[in-house]
């Protein structure tokens, strides 16, 4: 058309002007005419033309926004995660404390039960130190001479005999020789057949053996071994442990091993029997052999 216009004498600028005016008219008419969708043609064309561009722009903006949101969320999540982790740690510590407290309560309850059972004045004490040296197994309790604790007093636990106080005794602390110490000993008797003997510590497993029991005595694995009180330290009838093996010895006495009932690895609270030791006498020994309260 422009060539035609040039041939007819019209300048190219005129042709462009004509085209511009025509396009302007088309746009003007389109802005007023509705398309099939009820939308003005100009809007429809504009919408269609810009829809893709808007889609790309919106997608880009959405992507940037989502990325930013994700980044911000991640930062928040990280901080929240750290806070939650810290809270979990705190709660775990609290749980441990509560669990320990509950266990301690149970132990103290058992100790109270034991205290009610024992027909003698007792003193609850807490083990504050331990010295697991080979040949000298001792622990330290938080009660001493100012609490009435003296040397050779018996120390017991709800599960069984623990040991005895050995000197010197401090005003607020005392050392306890465990029964499983190789130099410790206690008069004992089997509960089922009342066979008397002496339980001593040994360096082995189980850590106790029962001596001075005749080959003729009826001692079998599983028999309960309790204190006889013959040595004048431990009250009669407290559980020491149970027979794990009982064999005929090469000489006069049987070879008996005893598994202690007290858990020496988990001791925390004990009872000190506040009865001063008395000298071992034949009466005591016979009385112990005859059995005592349990």
């Amino acid at each position: 058309m422009l060539d035609n216009l040039q041939r007819t004498g019209a300048r190219p600028r005129t042709g462009l002007l004509f085209l511009a005016v025509i396009v302007g008219h088309v746009i003007l008419i389109s802005s007023q005419v509705q398309s099939g969708s009820g939308m003005p043609v100009l809007e429809a064309v504009t919408f269609g033309a810009f829809a893709r561009l808007q889609g790309v722009t919106a997608g880009t903006v959405r992507g940037v926004r989502d990325s930013w949101s994700a980044y911000v969320d991640l930062r928040g999540v990280r901080a929240e995660n750290e806070a939650l982790r810290s809270q979990v740690d705190d709660l775990e510590i609290r749980l441990q404390e509560q669990r320990t407290l509950a266990q301690r309560t149970e132990r103290l309850q058992a100790l109270l039960d034991l205290k009610a059972f024992v027909n003698a004045p007792t003193l609850a004490a807490e083990i504050i130190a331990g010295y697991p040296k080979r040949g000298l197994l001792t622990v330290t309790i938080d009660k001493g001479s100012s609490d009435g604790v003296t040397e050779n007093m018996a120390v017991i636990a709800p599960t069984g005999v623990v040991g005895r106080i050995i000197g010197p005794v401090a005003s607020h602390a005392a050392r306890v020789q465990l029964l499983i110490d190789t130099s410790a000993a206690a008069g004992a008797v089997t509960e089922r057949t009342r066979e008397g003997g002496m339980v001593v510590g040994q360096d082995g497993d189980p850590p106790l053996r029962m001596e001075l029991v005749s080959n003729l005595a009826d001692v079998q694995p599983g028999d309960l071994v309790v204190t006889s009180g013959a040595e004048g330290i431990y009250p009669r009838g407290f559980v020491i442990g149970s027979v794990e093996s009982s064999e005929r010895g090469t000489h006069l006495y049987r070879s008996i091993t005893v598994r202690p009932s007290a858990n020496f690895r988990g001791l925390e609270e004990v009872l000190v029997v506040l009865i001063p030791p008395r000298a071992a006498t034949p009466e005591n020994t016979s009385a112990a052999a005859g059995g005592g309260p349990r």
């Binding site: 216009l5 007819t8 004509f18 005016v21 025509i22």
Partner: protein, 167 residues
């Protein structure tokens, strides 16, 4: 000067057209003075004048008549521009070619106008030939009259003044 004259002609045509339309509602379609003014300007001043006067006149007429603004304007723009181009291409200084130009322009305007409306209103294209022929003929005559008045009137007046002065 040319632009001012064209604008004045257009304004006069619009005023007369609206006046005629107001007086004779049924006969408003017998003549289209705006088309006559546009074609006259295009033949006299060229395609650009036809283009702008067609656009301006058409927009005003569309705005006054109601409906879709731009349809009549586009039709008049096309007519004005083509009339200007043809006027530059061919010698249209004689009566008959001018009449043909007016008639042709009127027919083209009507075809464009109806065609565009058929397009935008999505209806079949219908052309009423009898009114079209009447309008084309009237427009041709009015156009010739306009040319006659503009071209001959100054000379007639001058000669009349000279004759009066002689007596």
């Amino acid at each position: 000067m040319r632009i001012a004259f064209g604008i004045l002609a257009l304004i006069g045509a619009l005023a007369l057209q609206t006046t005629i339309s107001g007086l004779t509602l049924g006969g408003a379609r017998s003549v289209n003075l705006v088309v006559v003014a546009v074609v006259y300007a295009a033949l006299t001043f060229g395609p650009v004048a036809g283009l702008f006067l067609g656009t301006a006149g058409g927009l005003v007429q569309d705005a006054l008549a109601g409906g879709i603004v731009g349809v009549g304007s586009l039709a008049k723009t096309l007519v004005g521009f083509l009339a200007g181009v043809l006027g530059a291409q061919f010698i249209v200084a004689q009566t008959f070619p001018r009449f043909v130009m007016f008639v042709g322009a009127t027919a083209l305007h009507e075809v464009c106008y109806e065609g565009l409306y058929a397009l935008v209103e999505a209806r079949p294209f219908r052309l009423h030939y009898q009114p079209l022929l009447i309008q084309a003929g009237v427009n041709g005559l009015v156009g010739l009259l306009a040319f006659f008045l503009v071209e001959r009137m100054p000379g007639l007046l001058q000669r009349r003044r000279a004759r009066r002065g002689r007596y």
